[in-house]
Symmetry: C2
């Protein structure tokens, strides 16, 4: 049974069309496509407006490339002296059940480590990517990336996000936020997991 989208937000029209055609077509309405454009009905004849609505909505649907793959990232900071905290709670470390602003999370981490000396401030950023091919949600492939470093005594730098102003990666004296995008994207936990994903595709 072909699927037919009614290019209308008028529930009455959609209801009548569905009542009449419902046995021959799987009928959808624009309620399924909230991002579809509003078509301006400025024609001076019914045919002009109907053609305009059908072609503009069809063109928009055609432009909505359907992804082949879905990639999800879960990642966070694991601090040695805190037994791996904040870990999966990284984004909501200072926020209870809700995500907290980066500054609040960074401030809480500095408080927790206030008495921890430099030689015990080791930490790692940890990223796991999950990749699914559309239509094969049962077959998930995961890729892991870890970036070792240490937690600085104070925030520094404006780049990146999250704990980047506090995290100094091994082999560097500057934080991720100071090192900038290019360096971070070459050595980060996420870059390492993505490199494995790219390798898998080659």
């Amino acid at each position: 049974m072909p699927t037919l989208l009614i290019a209308s937000r008028n529930a009455h029209k959609a209801g009548e069309i569905t009542a009449i055609l419902g046995d021959d077509f799987t009928v959808q309405t624009l309620a399924k496509f909230p991002a579809a454009p509003e078509v301006v009905e400025d024609g001076d004849a019914f045919a002009a407006n109907a053609v305009k609505k059908a072609t503009e909505i069809a063109a928009w649907l055609g432009s909505q490339a359907r992804p082949d793959l879905v990639l999800a990232d879960d990642s966070g900071l694991e601090v040695d002296a805190l037994d791996g905290a904040p870990g999966v709670h990284s984004a909501r470390y200072a926020g209870g059940d809700d995500n907290a602003p980066d500054d609040a999370n960074n401030a809480k981490l500095l408080r927790e480590l206030a008495d921890v000396p430099d030689d015990n401030r080791g930490a790692q950023f940890h990223c796991v990517l999950a990749l699914v091919a559309l239509g094969q949600a049962a077959e998930v492939r995961t890729f892991e990336g870890i970036c070792r470093g240490r937690i600085a005594q104070a925030q520094a730098g404006q780049g990146g996000f999250g704990y980047d102003p506090l995290f100094v990666p091994d082999g560097h004296e500057l934080s991720f936020a100071e090192l900038g995008r290019e360096v971070k994207n070459a050595i980060s936990h996420r870059a390492r997991a993505l490199a494995k994903l790219a390798e898998y595709f080659r």
Copy 2:
């Protein structure tokens, strides 16, 4: 180049992944899919959360059946004594550039026809459907339906929408709004255009 959807609403993560993978994949973000579900990240490990996000978003995408056909309807009321008005302006007859409530449109029509006797209140509902197969927006097929009748002296009935309480179809003494859905959907302008569409598919 495969299209890869990043199952994240975190613009920072999406930016980093795009910077790293952008040469090998066409990268999309959930900004393209505002109706995608929020995934609750309640796992106790990065891998659990990443897998959950990827599989739930992939399953949702898979459930979004893509239409084969797009159908648009433009229709309205053409009154003989008004030289075909309100016509393409039917929905905004009493509203200037904006659609007006049905009651306001019906009230305006009654005012315009206040001095018009019963034997000159002929009118027709006119519907044009435009049908496009997805990916073939250049080839539009249209189907037309007309339902003749007359404009009553007062609104009657609760069914239908638009001018239905004022429109008495030929061969009947009751308005579309009084005749109800089954009768209307058997004889209306829209039903006639849809019958031609169904015939075309047979």
